[in-house]
Structure formats: C-alpha cells, structure tokens
C-alpha cells in the first residue's frame, strides 16, 4: 500500500447482523457501485449475534455515498467513521512483510 493511499484513507466502522450472507452484501456493494475497498476486518460481537466490520476505504469524494448506501443494507445496523484510529491501523494488523 502506498503512503498516499494511507494519508487519504478513511476507516468505516459497521455494526452488522452476523449471518453468512452479510459479508457478500457489504463487499458486493463496493464492487457494484465501483467504490474502492482496501481492507476489511470482521469480528463477532454481542455474543455472536452481531459483527463489527472495519473497512478501509480510499479518501474519495464518494465517501458520503458509500456510507449512505451501506446504511441502506438491511443487515447493517450502524455506520460511522473512525478518525480516531491511526491511518496505518490495517497495515500493522497485516504484519511486517511488505
């Protein structure tokens, strides 16, 4: 990942219903609407009934569109930006190999 991408990156935090189809709804939305999705992290919460998804998206003029389209998905319970997370959050999770 290039440094410019990191500097323009935004992290979206989604709370979703946890079931087998929800990941394809979220990733499918990015593919269908030609939004860029750089990285994705998904962990079960609320005893497994829900998941939290963190999405790394390019700083794009479409960010508001992305949030609104995501919010329309039935299984997406909330969408918010996470400016508090460091820009290299995902890179660190990915380990040291470049």
């Amino acid at each position: 990942m290039t440094t410019t991408a990191i500097s323009q990156a935004h992290i979206l935090d989604l709370r979703v219903r946890n079931h087998p189809g929800v990941m394809s709804h979220v990733t499918g939305l990015f593919a269908r609407r030609a939004f860029n999705l750089e990285a994705i992290l998904c962990v079960p919460i609320a005893g497994g009934d829900e998941s939290r998804m963190l999405l790394l998206v390019h700083g794009t003029p479409k960010l508001e569109q992305i949030e609104r389209q995501l919010a329309k998905l039935h299984d997406v319970l909330s969408v918010r930006q996470r400016p508090d997370l460091p820009p290299d959050y995902f890179e660190r999770l990915g380990g040291t190999e470049k």
Binding site: G21, L73, H74, D75
Partner: protein, 566 residues
C-alpha cells in the same frame, strides 16, 4: 391452545395468504414441489406462466397497478436465473416484489447438485434484501419481514430462497404464534424546519420548476404535486415513470424531460432558478450530461432515500421523507403566487415546440398519430403497458396519461419483453379495466409465450404492435450515430403476428399497410371483447425526435434528421 403441525410448505402458503396474496404467478420444478403441493389446498390462485421471466413481470404488473407487494415463484437453478431480469427491473424502478425460489436440499448445497445455483449470491446486487432460509422456523420471521422490506421506504424486490428440506420440515406451532403480516412501515415525518426552509426557498425563487419523479406516484402524492404547481404557478416536467402524476392537458405539465424530451423542457431546465426534484433520482436518461443539467438552479431534493442526495447532483436543500408528507405540510405554508410570467413563458415554449408529425389524414399510421388515436379510442381509465424501444418513447411523448399508475413501463432497466406479462399482471390486479400493451415486433418476441396465459384466462388485454420490422431504437442510433451501418437491427423475416395470436387461441388482426381506413379497422378490433393482437405496419425509418445524443447535454438535442446527420 392446541399446537398445529405445519410443513415449511404449508406454513409458507399460510403466511402468504395472511399477506393478502391472492394470485401467484410462477412455474413449478423439483426443488419447489413441496410448496406447489401445499398450494393444491390453498385458496391462492396460481398463475402458470410459460417462462419465469414472464411470471416475474406478471407480478410487476400487479405491483405497479396496486402499489402493494406482489409475489412470484420459481424452482431452483434455471427457474431462479430466469427470474433475475424481472428482479433487477424491480430494483431499478423501485417496485415491491417478493420472489420465492426453491433450492436444492441443504445437504446438497455446495455440491453442484442438479439444478443448483447460488441464487442467494446471484441476487445480492439486484435485490433490496435477500434470504436463504436455513430453518423452517425462520419462515415465521422471514416472510413478514420480506413484505415489510419490499413495501417500506423506497420499495424494491426481496428474494427468499428456500431449500427443499426446509419446505418438507415439520413444525408444530400455536396459531397465535403466526406472525402479523408485514407491510409498509411509515417513515418519520420531515422536520418542520426543513419544510419551512423549503417554503422560503420557493417564496424567494423567481422561476421554480418541478421535476416529477416516480416516487410521487409511489407515495400517492400526485394530486398534491399538481396542487403545488398551481399554488406556485410553476411548470412541471416529468420523468418516464412519473407520467400520469400530473394529468396531460394540465396547464402546468410541460412534458417528459430528458433524452426524448421536447426543447421546451430543456430550455426550462436551463432557465429555472429553483429545481424542485420530488421522488426523482437524476437518472442519466433524464439529465443528459449531468454537469450541464439545470446549470443556474438551486436544487431542493425531496426523496425517501437519502442515498439519492448528492449521488448525481448536490442539492442546496435535501429532505429525506415521504413526498406526500412533505407536500401535504408544505402547501399550507405557501401563498398563492399571482405572477403568471414564468408559467406564461413555459407555456409559450411548450406551444412553440410541439412534437413534429404529419397530419393524421396524410399519415394515419405515423406512430405519434397512432398514439393519439389510441387515446381517443380506448376507455379513459385504460392501463397502458409498453415494451422497450421507439414505440415506448412515442407512447411516452404522445399518449396523454391522465392518472397515476396508468402507464406501466420498464424505465430503469429498459427490459424488452416487459410489456405483455406486465399487461397480464395488470389485468389480474384491475379486473374491471381495459389493458393495452403497445409493443414492438422485437420486444414482443422476447416473452411471446405468455400469450398462452392470456388465452388461459381470457383477459381483456389488447396487444398493439408498432411493427417496423426492425429493432427500431437500435436502428435509429445506427442511423444517427453509426453512419447508417445497420448491423443486426434489421430482421430478415418477421412472423405473421396475427396468425401467431390465433395459434395461441387469441384473436389476431393484421392491418394492411394500404388499408383504405386503417384506423377504423383498429377501432373495430379494439371494440371486441377479450384478448387480441393487432399488428400495425409502420415505416421502418421513422425516428423518435427530439433526441439527445447519448452523453451530450440536453440542450444539444437533435430535433429532426438533417442530411448531415443522415
């Protein structure tokens, strides 16, 4: 209370009955047979389509006439894939549809079993929501929820994929465990402050223009929109799917905007200082080149779907709410505008740029004349469906729609093959009305098999073919933009459609090109009861004008074929 034993299949019919489903188009097959067996003793009337896409569009016809969710059924594999086009069409035109598909038993899912496709995966991008039901008990929540999602907010299609073992599974439930039916849930009212702001914007505008979208019809706000136009003395332009919201003939309606709109609508969009977009989504066929759409106007955008705000054009004011709610509360805040200058300007423009067409006496079968003649001949409450192509645009331009839900057309997806099955669905939903389908010789063949359903039920549907022996709209583009290289747009042969109708057991009429009085013949054919097909020859090089070249700004519209263009 005593427990009752259901199977997934009988539970499904019970829940559909409770949803008010009376007519259910579909086609059976192995993976959905338990459900069909349950239908055998259900009061639901199954309508046996002849292709699942036909079943899907029959459901469209019902939903588009009533505004309520309609359902359709198919088996797994090819049954499900055949439904996809109708589902995608419902997505783009915001039509409430619940599609039910059989799936192979769960033990076989993932094994490439006979007639297994990933229906869930295929339908993700074209549904508002979709389900793969893994447990029979889930039907109790999924079915009402599917109807609620389909009808609430911005309507759309929902797909429910049900494996065969789920249909066969037994479940014991109390009758009071049966869920309440799902349905349209109201959205929160718009904040008063937004409506005040809108009223102020309107009061300070000199040249407001109302841009009517299909959402007005969905929300039942047609009369309110007309009242708004009167109150502020504003002209209105309509998208294809909003035709009928403000009745043709109203002094406020300036016609359809966009690719086949008139010069008057383009000029008004260029001149307006406030665009009131209501239930409209700034579709490229309406806006032309979006950067040059209404360049001098502030935009107030009212829509039930907030993702539409700023998707194409950035509004100065956006109100996320139901159009009827907003307009109903806006009107009391508005003074009657007594200045007629802007409306007079609009009227003058409209009158200066009528549709160009030869007089009826000279060319009775010119498509514009035909549309006007049909309007005079058919009952005024006729429901019109169209297919896709030139004939669709001529109908949109020239047929005077006077009430909402009298035009059913595939606007967003533009699906050839829509017209006949949608007309059948309309006939089921509105049994006392006349239904007419204006189609092309290309489109009709895409779902011609549904003539069998017309014959089965003897429905009052008149199919009127504008037969140019061409894929007319393709040919038109090739003539105007591809140097008249007519690749694959001219049919080598065309069937005898009247004979084809008779082969299905339906009245067929062929109007001769040299008939002494073709309009009288057409009127005669329309006067007889029951279904019929009327084949009308039109000239093959007739074009839909005006036309904005794809990608151009609306003001660059071509008014007629010039030798240079030709």
């Amino acid at each position: 209370m005593a427990k009752k034993t259901y199977t997934g299949a009988t539970l499904l019919t019970t829940l559909l009955e409770r949803q008010g489903i009376r007519d259910l188009p579909g086609i059976p097959g192995g993976a959905i047979l338990p459900f069909y067996d349950a239908l055998h003793t259900s009061p639901i009337r199954h309508i046996l389509a002849r292709h699942e896409q036909g079943a899907g569009f029959i459901a469209h016809g019902m939903a588009r006439v009533t505004g309520r969710a309609a359902a359709c059924v198919a088996t797994s594999g090819p049954g499900a894939t055949n439904l996809l086009t109708a589902i995608a069409d419902a997505r783009l035109d915001s039509i409430p549809l619940v599609a039910i598909t059989g799936q192979v038993p769960q033990s076989l899912i993932g094994t490439d079993a006979f007639q297994e496709v990933d229906t869930y995966g295929l339908s993700v991008p074209i549904t508002k929501h979709n389900y793969l039901v893994r447990d029979v008990r889930d039907l109790l929540t999924v079915i009402p929820e599917a109807f609620t999602i389909a009808e609430s907010g911005r309507p759309g299609p929902v797909l429910i994929d049900i494996p065969k073992d789920v249909q066969n599974a037994a479940i014991e439930i109390d009758d009071d465990e049966l869920p309440a039916p799902g349905g349209c849930r109201p959205v929160p009212p718009a904040p008063d402050a937004d409506i005040d702001a809108l009223a102020r914007m309107i009061a300070s505008a000199q040249r407001p223009l109302i841009y009517l979208g299909g959402g007005i019809i969905t929300s039942g706000a047609s009369e309110l929109a007309h009242e708004l136009a009167r109150r502020i003395a504003a002209p209105a332009v309509s998208t294809l799917n909003a035709l009928g919201a403000i009745p043709a003939g109203s002094p406020h309606l300036m016609g359809m905007l966009g690719m086949h709109g008139t010069r008057a609508t383009h000029t008004l969009l260029d001149e307006c200082d406030l665009l009131l977009a209501i239930g409209a989504r700034f579709d490229d066929r309406a806006t032309g080149k979006a950067d040059e759409f209404c360049p001098h106007a502030a935009i107030a955008h009212i829509d039930i779907d907030r993702a539409e705000f700023g998707k194409i054009k950035r509004p100065s004011l956006s109100i996320e709410a139901d159009a009827a709610d907003v307009l109903g509360r806006l009107l009391p805040r508005l003074q009657q505008n007594t200045s007629r200058a802007w409306l007079d300007r609009a009227t003058a423009l409209r009158d200066a740029h009528p549709l160009r067409h030869p007089p009826r006496e000279a060319a009775p079968l010119h498509p514009v004349n035909l549309c006007r003649f049909l309007a005079e001949t058919l009952p005024s409450d006729t429901i019109m469906t169209t297919d896709v192509g030139q004939h669709q645009m001529w109908v949109a331009q020239a047929y005077p729609f006077r009430a909402p839900r009298t035009l059913l057309t595939s606007g967003g997806l533009g699906t050839m093959g829509f017209g006949l099955p949608a007309a059948i669905g309309a006939a089921f939903a509105a049994p006392d009305r006349r239904i007419a389908c204006v189609t092309g010789d290309g489109s009709l063949l895409m779902n011609i098999q549904e003539l069998a359903v017309l014959a089965d039920f003897n429905l009052p549907v008149a199919i009127i073919i504008f037969n140019n022996a061409n894929l007319g709209l393709v040919r038109q583009q090739q003539e105007l933009f591809y140097g008249r290289r007519y690749e694959a747009s001219i049919f080598e042969t065309t069937p005898d459609f009247a004979a084809l109708a008779r082969a299905f057991g339906i009245r067929g009429h062929s109007i001769a090109a040299d008939s002494a009085d073709p309009l009288a013949e057409i009127a005669g054919a329309l006067a007889l009861p029951g279904p019929c097909v009327i084949n009308i020859p039109i000239t093959s090089d007739e074009k839909v004008f005006p036309m904005v070249p794809p990608g151009a700004a609306n003001r660059q519209s071509i008014e007629q074929a010039t030798p240079a263009a030709a």
